[in-house]
Assembly symmetry: C2
Homo-oligomer: 186 residues x 2
DNA sequence: CTTGACAAACCGTCCAGACGGTATCTTAAT
DNA sequence: ATTAAGATACCGTCTGGACGGTTTGTCAAG
């Protein structure tokens, strides 16, 4: 008999909480900080409760992956709808989303994902599928050297943000973004 | 009294072996595969022996970091010596080294380092210092938007190589490299 | 009264590091 | 040139703790 037993049941909310906490923990303490004990405790749920929603740790990480790639997909789709030019459309949408990511609340989530991605071979595989799927889908419009390069540069900037290795100020960011958009059009 | 007790002492060689094995293990089994037991055993040394050379696990990772950034520094320095143009010289050297990395034997080592970097907050910090130190050193010649962008793009490509997410063929690589060099000159 | 949503105790494994020892190398006094 | 005295380079075992996962129990909603 505990508090959680008496509070109103809201499984979907608890599930979301768990994902959120997992992201935050890895941000603050590195990937090693994402343990079942730590996540469940920080989410105010018992370990059994966590394992009820996600049968094992991998499932939790997969949940994170799906949650976040889902948001990424929707954001990209949204951006693509507002772009009339076919050539490089996906690349520009990708740029917009990645550049916008820095201030987003979800940026934390993306950071954990990246780390987990590199750590877990399984997630590395899933990410590979995500990339190749999109590359295949837009092979007609976004496979030029310029487009590829632009996306790589965005990834590099994103990595720098994660590692906080460079400190790129706002005007510089805008200049770089403009240049990358130009690359996507050539 | 064991065999290893009687073999000739060669501390520097053993130390090198340990670093090499640590890099290889993380490549083959992910960062989780880098345990003191696994590393020491694969290097043909006891755990005690490993801990003699590196007093704790962090020291081992730090050793890897220094080993590899040392090589990186030397490679970059070498490249810079052959470049008569001051503006963007560091960036071009960086590009050369990163692009050459894909086939290098050390590429494995760099992969483990990247992973460990993202996983271990301490190493993240050290990497940050490496980057800012170099950025400061070449602030006069390599801080333009073009140079930054070129380096970011190289990082992105490197990340893609690690994740094997894109499969960039050789002609495309060369085209991209040429474009980035042009960026470093503008 | 059945089932979904948890709690709490527990288990086996793995791992970092400590520890106490032994063998080889170096140095320096004889 | 010898050799005693340390320093250095290892070996092999043990332990305490963390961590993923299981099991069993409990409550509440439908």
């Amino acid at each position: 008999m505990s508090i959680a037993h008496h509070r109103r049941k809201q499984p979907e909310l608890v599930r979301q909480q768990l994902l959120e906490v997992a992201a935050r923990l890895s941000l603050e303490q590195g990937a090693a900080g994402v343990t079942l004990d730590a996540v469940s405790q920080a989410a105010g749920v018992s370990k059994g409760g966590l394992l009820h929603h996600f049968p094992n740790k991998m499932a939790l990480l997969n949940g994170l992956f799906e949650d976040l790639t889902g948001k990424l997909d929707r954001a990209i789709e949204e951006e693509m709808r507002n772009d009339p030019v076919a050539h490089g459309r996906f690349t520009r949408a990708y740029l917009s989303v990645v550049f916008a990511l820095e201030e987003e609340a979800d940026a934390q989530g993306w950071q954990v994902l990246t780390i987990a991605l590199l750590t877990e071979p399984q997630l590395r595989e899933r990410w590979r599928f995500w990339v190749t799927d999109h590359a295949d889908e837009f092979v007609g419009t976004d496979s030029s050297a310029g487009c590829l390069l632009a996306r790589f540069a965005a990834d590099g900037l994103w990595l720098a943000d994660i590692l906080k290795s460079h400190d790129v100020d706002q005007p510089m960011r805008h200049a770089m973004r403009a240049q990358l958009i130009a690359l996507s059009q050539q």
